[in-house]
């Protein structure tokens, strides 16, 4: 693949939803590129349309105008090259843990042993192979999210999408999961798009932060972070980026275009 062409490309993308004949604008004129193997955080306050960005990349939401491409081809529908991890886990309650993880493979092969073997491998990766035959309801929130991540990775996507994945977890679990996701990313070398509303979470994780804010959501800031991990949030460079982000969120209408 051409190293220089972006993995995911947004070009002047806008999105409106119809509510009883009123079109509500969610995103306005968003453009950015995401390159292979990047860890990108899409950061923004609640209601800024950042989850919509993820839905557009996944393919179950269609843009009202503009162009979205994946590997230089327009995105038409969801498929397993871009898997999504939800905040509410969205695990299948009627399947046990290993069958949840292997679900994506059932769309590709009927070979049960192969599916189980692969699923176990990924369950191992998130440290839950001992729980393979448990039911979903027996797991804690953090464990459920590990299963959901294993399920998303097991389908062997090129891009892993995460929609506020740790938003429902307590602080301690959240921090552990942040370390975990970096470890998994380092091991599997996938492109990761991680949506969050926590500035610190984005600063800790991202190679690049794409900031979306306002109503409708506009691109406020798009910056690289080239500090090695694990990162200290008191680092002076991170502090600089943080204050730039907070500045832009405070006055979105004045900062349009300045940092892009």
């Amino acid at each position: 693949m051409d190293e220089l062409s972006p993995k995911i490309e947004f070009k002047n993308v806008s999105k409106s939803f119809d509510h009883n004949s009123n079109a509500e604008k969610i995103l306005e004129d968003i453009s950015f590129d995401i390159y292979a193997d990047e860890f990108v955080c899409i950061l923004g306050p609640s209601g800024s349309g950042k989850s919509t960005v993820l839905g557009l990349i996944a393919g179950f939401i269609k843009a009202t105008s503009g162009k979205i491409s994946f590997n230089s081809k327009p995105i038409k529908r969801p498929d397993s090259s871009r898997t999504l991890v939800f905040q509410d886990y969205a695990l299948f309650p009627w399947l046990n843990i290993i069958d949840n993880v292997g679900f994506g493979l059932t769309t590709k092969t009927k070979n049960k042993n192969e599916i189980r073997g692969k699923a176990l491998e990924y369950l191992n990766l998130v440290g839950l192979s001992a729980y393979k035959d448990h039911s979903i309801s027996q797991l804690s929130g953090g464990m459920k999210q590990r299963v959901a991540i294993a399920r998303a990775l097991c389908a062997e996507p090129e891009v892993l999408l995460l929609d506020e994945p740790f938003g429902a977890l307590d602080q301690q679990t959240r921090e552990n999961m942040q370390i975990e996701i970096l470890r998994l990313w380092g091991k599997s070398k996938k492109t990761v798009v991680f949506v969050t509303h926590s500035v610190d979470e984005a600063l800790k994780l991202a190679d690049r932060i794409i900031l979306i804010g306002g109503k409708p959501g506009k691109l406020l800031y798009n910056t690289n972070i080239s500090i090695s991990r694990p990162r200290d949030l008191k680092d002076s460079e991170l502090n600089k980026i943080r204050s730039q982000i907070i500045d832009r969120l405070a006055q979105p209408e004045f900062s349009m275009g300045s940092g892009i």
């Binding site: 839905g55 996944a58 393919g59 179950f60 529908r77 969801p78 498929d79 397993s80 871009r82 898997t83 999504l84 939800f86 509410d88 969205a90 695990l91 299948f92 309650p93 009627w94 679900f103 994506g104 059932t106 769309t107 590709k108 039911s135 979903i136 309801s137 027996q138 399920r151 998303a152 389908a155 999408l161």
Partner: protein, 253 residues
């Protein structure tokens, strides 16, 4: 154990009081027979086969009606969930249909089908189809959107998506509908059978009335209650419980 003793005691007292009322009040047999007469009716009815044939024919009728209702109900439910126009027109009138008791359909069914099995099965279908249709519709509408989206991003679509996600996600609500529908079917069966000819629980009951054989009437009423209880609560109840457990809707103990 203690619970069992209390229950046995309760029934023993009930039968003694019943016996005393009949004996002391000198109540005629066709108004209220003594407990022993009812037991006798049960004993001979089952021994000579009359009751068994009746129960068997009734079960065949109700099962035919029920399964036809399931097929029609599931298809109707899916159509209602998928087509908005159908839902706001026909979907609304379903609720009105549901408030019509099954006996109200009897005259219509008799005129259309005569005093035959078909009339009873028709009434059963009319009664049993509605809960299935409604629960199918609701089950389909209540599938969490994220489950479908998760499946889609994992590569599931078309038939795979229907078989492995949509249908599976519907099952808990569907089972509740199936149970309710069975309860309706059972009531409709008895109502319909009172008016038709041929073997059946309803006819055995009606025969008891025309012969002024109150013991037979009471034993048939009891039979209806017992079969209804066993099927609705024990059979469907345990299916429902197991499904809810397997789907993680109730906590495991």
């Amino acid at each position: 154990m203690k619970l069992a003793l209390i229950r046995i005691g309760f029934y023993a007292i009930l039968f003694v009081v019943w016996y005393l009322i009949v004996k002391v009040g000198e109540i005629p047999n066709y108004i209220l027979p003594a407990p022993i007469d009812v037991f006798e009716s049960f004993y001979f009815g089952f021994l000579k086969g009359g009751y068994l044939i009746g129960i068997f024919s009734s079960l065949v009728r109700v099962l035919i009606g029920y399964f036809l209702a399931l097929i029609i109900g599931v298809v109707t439910g899916i159509l209602l969930a998928r087509y908005y126009l159908l839902d706001i027109t026909f979907g609304k009138s379903i609720l009105a249909l549901q408030s019509i008791p099954s006996v109200a359909w009897v005259p219509l069914a008799l005129l259309w089908f005569g005093i035959t099995d078909k009339a009873v099965i028709f009434i059963i279908i009319l009664e049993a189809v509605l809960p299935v249709a409604l629960s199918t519709k609701n089950a389909m509408k209540n599938i969490p959107l994220n489950l479908i989206r998760a499946a889609q991003t994992l590569g599931s679509k078309g038939l795979h998506l229907y078989q492995n996600v949509i249908l599976k996600a519907m099952i808990p609500e569907l089972v509740t509908g199936l149970r309710l529908s069975w309860a309706f079917a059972w009531r409709a069966l008895i109502a319909g059978e009172l008016f038709i000819s041929g073997a059946g629980i309803g006819q055995t009951l009606e025969l008891g009335r025309s012969l002024a054989d109150m013991a037979q009437v009471i034993s048939m009423i009891t039979t209806i209650g017992v079969i209804g209880f066993l099927t609705e609560n024990i059979f469907f109840g345990s299916i429902e419980k197991n499904v809810r457990l397997a789907w993680g809707l109730d906590a495991q103990k």
